[in-house]
């Protein structure tokens, strides 16, 4: 098996595994503090115990996922050096600064999260307690920002020259502000907020289907769907800008994702389908002019095709499906939340029907799937490069043996941590149902 023979292949697989697992917790880590903040703010403003309880319950569950996010984040941080030592040697010279800053951002977040969690009843003015969440949410957002900066650098390296194989004229600041950075950072942040909003909407919808505490969960659902809608629309707009970035700076990635082989004007957007002979996409949905619009904003503009790149520099064509998964789910979520919002305002009955609730429940996991697909598209779409145009994954990978076995080891670990999270969270919330927490709050007792 290649996994046990080829260290470069095994390193790719292990990185794929770690990132796919970590991104779930990282997304929760970025998104949840904002949701807690909004809920607690509404709760204080309207003096509504339901919202205060939402904040409290979310925070309780949040610490468990933070713990797993911290350890998997530590794993990927060190694994970068263990699996890609040559890349990290180069990266250390030029892009170490955001990595370093990320540690500070996280440190800051961790300290205030610790204080926030243990001071629910220590302030006479509840607004002071709410203020503690600001550094938590800002720290989480900054962590995402710094890490995405590093990923942007890998896609559009800048801020140095390579002369005779040596890195010279290093400018760490230029390396941080690369052309891909603005769209990537915005996309990562808005999708995280969107996904977490839809995650809470899914939980609330599920509870409503179980006929649990109607008032509490209806409020939660309503709030989450509205926030989700805002960020889903923002994500679509930013996604459009990402397409324009790709067309200008990484045309091979866009071409591979769209199965766009020949350079043409008035290019249609190919969705789904199966690749037949002569690179003909069968059973696909062709949206006329859409690719030209995505790439340059005009229906008759020219889009570079994959044929213009040497075969060994073309990204794998499978990223087409990753792209389509991401976009399809994104569109679905916009329509779902928009209909819900209109429906609630106009009192359309169907948005409160069982089947619609089930669609909202599905929206939670689907949003996470969209995040995964987006990252697979971003990372697999950079192949064969680890640092686009400069270093391939083969050159970067470790030469050690046994990487395949480490893959097995970490697969077992992630399985244990994943199951552990689910078991512990469901136990926590089964033991403390909403009704019980509400009684406690009204009784003035602290939990």
């Amino acid at each position: 098996m290649t996994l046990f023979e080829d260290p470069a292949y095994a390193s790719r697989m292990l990185t794929l595994l770690t990132l796919s697992f970590h991104i779930i917790y990282a997304t929760i880590g970025v998104g949840v503090p904002l949701m807690i903040m909004i809920a607690q703010w509404i709760g204080i403003k309207n003096n509504d115990n339901h919202y205060l309880l939402m904040a409290r319950r979310w925070a309780k569950g949040f610490v468990v996922t933070v713990a797993v996010g911290v350890v998997t984040g530590t794993i990927i941080g060190l694994q970068l050096s263990l699996l890609w030592p040559s890349f990290m040697e180069l990266a250390g010279n030029i892009i170490a600064m955001p990595l370093f800053m990320e540690v500070f951002a996280f440190f800051f977040e961790a300290i205030f999260l610790g204080i926030y969690l243990y001071t629910w009843d220590r302030f006479d003015n509840p607004k002071k307690h709410l203020l503690l969440l600001i550094p938590v949410a800002v720290g989480g957002g900054m962590s995402a920002y710094f890490i995405t900066v590093v990923n942007s650098f890998m896609n559009s390296p800048a801020g140095f020259d390579i002369i005779g194989g040596d890195l010279v004229n290093a400018n760490p600041l230029l390396a941080m502000f690369t052309v891909s950075m603005p769209t990537k950072v915005a996309h990562v942040l808005s999708t995280a907020y969107m996904t977490i909003a839809f995650m809470f909407a899914a939980i609330a919808a599920f509870r409503l289907l179980q006929k649990k505490n109607q008032e509490y969960h209806k409020k939660s659902l309503h709030m989450a769907m509205k926030i989700g809608l805002i960020f889903a629309v923002a994500t679509a707009l930013i996604g459009d800008l990402s397409g324009k970035y790709l067309a200008a700076y990484q045309p091979e990635k866009l071409a591979a994702a769209e199965w766009h082989f020949e350079t043409t004007t008035e290019a249609p957007l190919v969705m789904w389908g199966v690749l037949g002979e002569d690179n003909e996409a069968k059973y696909a949905l062709h949206v006329p002019y859409a690719l030209s619009i995505l790439a340059h904003g005009l229906p008759n503009s020219e889009v570079i095709g994959l044929e213009e790149f040497p075969a060994d520099e073309q990204p794998p064509l499978v990223i087409h499906y990753f792209f389509d998964t991401m976009v399809t789910i994104g569109m679905f979520m916009i329509i779902l939340s928009l209909l819900y919002w209109f429906g609630m305002r106009r009192k359309w009955a169907f948005v409160e029907k069982t089947w619609y609730r089930w669609l909202i429940v599905a929206g939670g996991p689907l949003s996470f799937l969209a995040i995964e697909a987006g990252w697979w598209m971003a990372e697999v779409g950079r192949q064969p490069w680890i640092l686009r145009g400069l270093m391939t994954i083969e050159e970067a990978a470790t030469t050690s043996d046994y990487v395949g076995w480490m893959f097995v080891l970490f697969a077992v670990l992630y399985f244990i941590l994943g199951v552990g999270t689910v078991v512990v969270l469901s136990y926590m919330f089964r033991k403390n149902p909403v009704e019980k927490d509400l009684e406690r709050m009204q009784g003035g007792e602290s939990s």
Partner: protein, 337 residues
């Protein structure tokens, strides 16, 4: 020249911080598990939980800071250590992951779950042991080059007495540091039984600690003579460290000034750890990487130092707030809040 000294000093200081905070943390987890197994849970668990809960995430950051910093300041070390540490590094990561997650699972989810407590107690004790292997490897003699790529000689590492002495020292240090700290903390909470028990643990780990530490100096004489001689020329640092050890033990023996005892212990480890580090200079990995050749470019070095200073300006006040609210707040530690 001066930049790399600044860089390595900052990193060494953070590693020292990790050793102290991490030891308290990992030792506490182990004592908690041990007390559950031996049925003395009622004495210890409460104070340990109360101390650990708000600070555990902070510990991990010291470690991440160190390895991110070393890649930034000394990128070459990422290549060498990254290649050779695949297996020991991965094992340490698995232990760290189990420790961190199960700690949270137990304290936030299933409080008092025996299996979870034992899992994080044991994995915590093994983390310092697995990380200490890096110190052994850095002494040289275990890494050779094959086609220009560094390769770790696993069997030489496994059969070396130096490896095992350092492992023993790391475990003894964790239990000793943690016991001394918890004696102080338990005393502050006014819990007599817990204080007495922790005091007993502190005293019983003090002697194994000093034997293991002296043993390593002897081992080094056989393993890496340069390092040994450098250590001898810094004899006064180790002498101070030894005196501080005696003073700590005396204070604890006489049941007096537990707080001072803990700060003396910090001093003891600081002198020994910095003495060891200075004697290791200029090598990061004998004889392959020195801090001079492996250093990053000046632009990156200056940026990192600037970021470090700004970061500290942000963190020190926040850390102070954390300590003020939890560690030094009389009402909190006594369980009234």
């Amino acid at each position: 020249m001066i930049l790399e000294i600044v860089g390595i000093s900052v990193l060494w200081l953070f590693l020292f911080g990790y050793i102290i905070v991490g030891s308290i943390d990992y030792g506490a987890g182990f004592f908690n598990a041990y007390s559950i197994v031996t049925g003395r849970q009622h004495i210890l668990s409460k104070i340990i939980q109360r101390y650990l809960s708000p600070v555990w995430e902070v510990t991990n950051v010291f470690f991440v800071f160190f390895f991110v910093g070393i890649v930034g300041f000394f990128p070459q070390s990422a290549y060498y250590f990254g290649t050779i540490l695949l297996i020991p590094g991965s094992l340490a990561l698995v232990l760290l992951a189990i420790r961190g997650s199960y700690y949270a699972f137990e304290s936030y989810g299933k409080q008092g779950h025996k299996g979870y407590a034992i899992m994080y107690g044991l994995s915590g004790l093994l983390i310092p042991a697995s990380l200490s292997i890096v110190l052994t490897i850095s002494e040289g003699g275990f890494v050779f080059l094959e086609d220009g790529n560094p390769v770790l000689d696993y069997s030489a590492l496994f059969y070396s007495p130096l490896t095992w002495s350092i492992v023993v020292l790391s475990i003894a240090a964790v239990l000793y540091i943690s016991a001394v700290f918890l004696t102080w903390y338990a005393n502050e909470t006014g819990d007599k039984d817990a204080t007495n028990l922790m005091r007993k643990y502190a005293l019983s780990w003090s002697v194994p600690l000093i034997i293991a530490a002296s043993g390593i100096i002897v081992e080094l004489y056989f393993h890496n003579e340069t390092h040994f001689e450098n250590l001898l020329s810094l004899w006064w640092m180790f002498a101070i460290s030894f005196v501080l050890w005696i003073l700590t033990v005396v204070l604890i023996w006489k049941r007096r000034n537990y707080g001072t005892a803990f700060w003396l212990l910090t001093g003891q480890f600081a002198f020994a750890f910095f003495g060891y580090g200075i004697a290791h200079y200029p090598y990061l990995l004998y004889p392959h990487i020195s801090i001079h050749e492996g250093f990053t470019n000046p632009a990156m070095a200056i940026s990192l130092i600037v970021v470090f200073i700004l970061g500290m300006a942000l963190l020190i006040p926040s850390l102070y707030l954390l300590l003020k609210l939890f560690l030094f707040d009389k009402n909190y530690i006594k369980g009234k809040k």
